[in-house]
């Protein structure tokens, strides 16, 4: 019995949690805190109730119904609290608060036999996404809220991802939710031109959430559930705007990366480089879907950064062996990507891809030039890339120094283990000579 409850709860977390939360926020008229509290309370009740009564037929519907009833109860308490002690001190603007709301029902009674309330949630999940990415919120506020609500990450995990103290993350979350509530940031999918104007930001945030699941900053295992939720939302985005090639490109990119998830981390928890991954463990269905989506996007004839990145990922995913990788085409695509994204990571990848064609010594010279550019000095992937090129060039002494530099700069434990393995490999090669 206990096992069935655990399984049902785990399935709820990685499946319907975001859909239920989004619907609750809508019911709470944009009050994220009230919705999160109601959901946490409903989950606590499920933990007590389900082992006795059995897991309901539709756990998500049960959770939503119970949480909604709690929300109504909460709203009544809030109305009283507001009337007595609140932020309000003075002012001529007033609003009616109905104190006479009747509330008399058993919260958990018949929770699973209501009309299917999950019918409408697809829209609410997108509404949640667009609200998290509202232009009146700072980029950091958008990402923090999206990681919390869509990704389901803890404040601690988010603070690690954003490299800041936990208190800073916590305060930003509180203030962001308060702004949404007090400034009436609407909990809706925008329409018309506003929809398309806001999609760039939405895609960027969604991809950052995906990456936090795919390459977590926090030590420990990959968060397939976080990446999976980002994929589900990207899929909804392509349904909402089927003619937008960049949304198709984003979904294709996520699927092509996600296809490699079971080959990316070794039994020892170290990252396995693309070159060394067991390609038979890649998810062929996901790769094929990614390719089909990319074809659809390209047919719309409007290039963009997500389509380019997806095209690069597709070339990796369809190479039968690492040596068959079409590096010259990949280098060309990175060249095009630099136009949209002149960032250190793209510059670095462009140089590394071209070095695969022109040789490691050429790549090392490129990296030396890159290292002098602004923002590159503390970038941990730079010494890691340098170390790999030095290793390929058989300059093991220098490779060892560069790997140790990279270890000092990275926070991720999976990357640490990868780099440490390279250090022992290079050390072994040095002793052979």
């Amino acid at each position: 019995m206990m096992n069935a409850v655990d399984n049902a709860l785990a399935a709820f977390y990685s499946g319907e949690r975001v859909a239920v939360l989004a619907t609750l926020i809508k019911s709470a008229r944009g009050d994220f805190d009230a919705a999160e509290d109601a959901l946490a309370d409903a989950i606590a009740r499920a933990v007590v109730r389900w082992p006795k009564d059995g897991v309901p037929e539709r756990p998500g519907a049960w959770m939503l119904t119970v949480a909604r009833r709690l929300l109504i109860d909460e709203a009544r308490v809030d109305a009283r609290r507001n009337a007595s002690n609140s932020f309000a001190v003075w002012g001529t603007s007033t609003e009616l608060v109905d104190e006479n709301a009747e509330f008399e029902q058993s919260i958990e009674k018949d929770a699973a036999v209501v009309d299917d309330p999950l019918d409408v949630v697809h829209d609410e999940r997108l509404a949640l996404l667009y609200t998290c990415c509202h232009p009146s919120l700072s980029t950091n506020a958008q990402l923090t809220l999206a990681l919390r609500t869509i990704g389901g990450l803890s404040v601690r995990e988010i603070s690690r991802a954003l490299l800041e103290p936990e208190a800073t993350t916590a305060q930003r979350l509180v203030r962001t939710k308060q702004k949404i509530r007090e400034a009436r940031v609407p909990f809706t999918i925008p329409s018309g031109t506003a929809l398309h104007e806001r999609n760039d930001v939405v895609r960027e945030t969604l991809y950052l959430v995906f990456n936090e699941g795919y390459t977590p900053s926090e030590a420990g295992a990959l968060r397939a559930d976080v990446a999976g939720e980002a994929i589900r939302l990207a899929r909804l985005l392509t349904v909402l705007t089927p003619g937008d090639p960049e949304s198709l490109g984003l979904l294709a990119l996520m699927l092509l990366h996600h296809a490699r998830r079971s080959a990316r981390i070794g039994d020892d928890g170290a990252i396995i480089s693309l070159e060394e991954q067991d390609r038979t463990r890649w998810d062929r269905d996901a790769i094929q879907e990614g390719e089909r989506l990319l074809d659809r996007a390209i047919a719309l004839q409007k290039s963009g950064p997500y389509q380019l990145q997806a095209a690069i990922a597709a070339l990796h995913a369809t190479a039968r062996t690492a040596t068959e990788t079409d590096w010259s085409q990949i280098a060309g695509l990175y060249g095009a990507l630099r136009f949209y994204m002149p960032t250190p990571v793209v510059e670095l990848n462009a140089a590394v891809a071209l070095a695969m064609v022109l040789g490691p010594e050429w790549g090392l010279a490129q990296l030396d030039t890159l290292a002098t550019e602004r923002g590159m000095a503390d970038y941990h992937l730079l010494p890691a890339a340098r170390a790999d090129l030095l290793r390929r060039a058989q300059r093991f002494d220098e490779a060892l120094v560069a790997y140790n530099d990279a270890i000092r700069l990275t926070e991720s434990s999976a990357e640490h283990r990868y780099l440490e393995r390279r250090v022992s490999e290079v050390t072994a090669r040095m002793q052979l000579r």
Binding site: A88, W90, T92, T94, E99, S138, E182, R184
Partner: protein
Amino acid sequence: MRYLILIYMNEQQFLSRTPESQSSMTSEYRTYMDEMGAAGILRAGDQLQPSFTATTIRVRDGKTLNTDGPFAETKEQLGGYFIIETDSIDDAISWGGKCPGARHGSIEVRPLVVQPMAGKAADVTATAAASR
């Protein structure tokens, strides 16, 4: 002649105030507003939500740039105000962007504190009428 009275305060202190100072502040402001009401000079006055709920809008070359938070630079001074009533911040931002000042200065949109009024709609209308 109409005049605007601006209230500047230490927001951090205000946010961490005690229940006692909250209630004394409330009664002080109530007395002040009653006095202004009795003198027949009060047109409108509202408390603002904290500065982190603000959105600053600039329109440059026809492009609207939003940033979150209050307008903090010191080169420009407060030049006027409008109080508008819309359904959401989207409409408020849209109106803020249409303001001529958005094209050379900055427009800060900040929600007003709405006083909760318990009771039936009729009572509220009566109270609102009495305060005019």
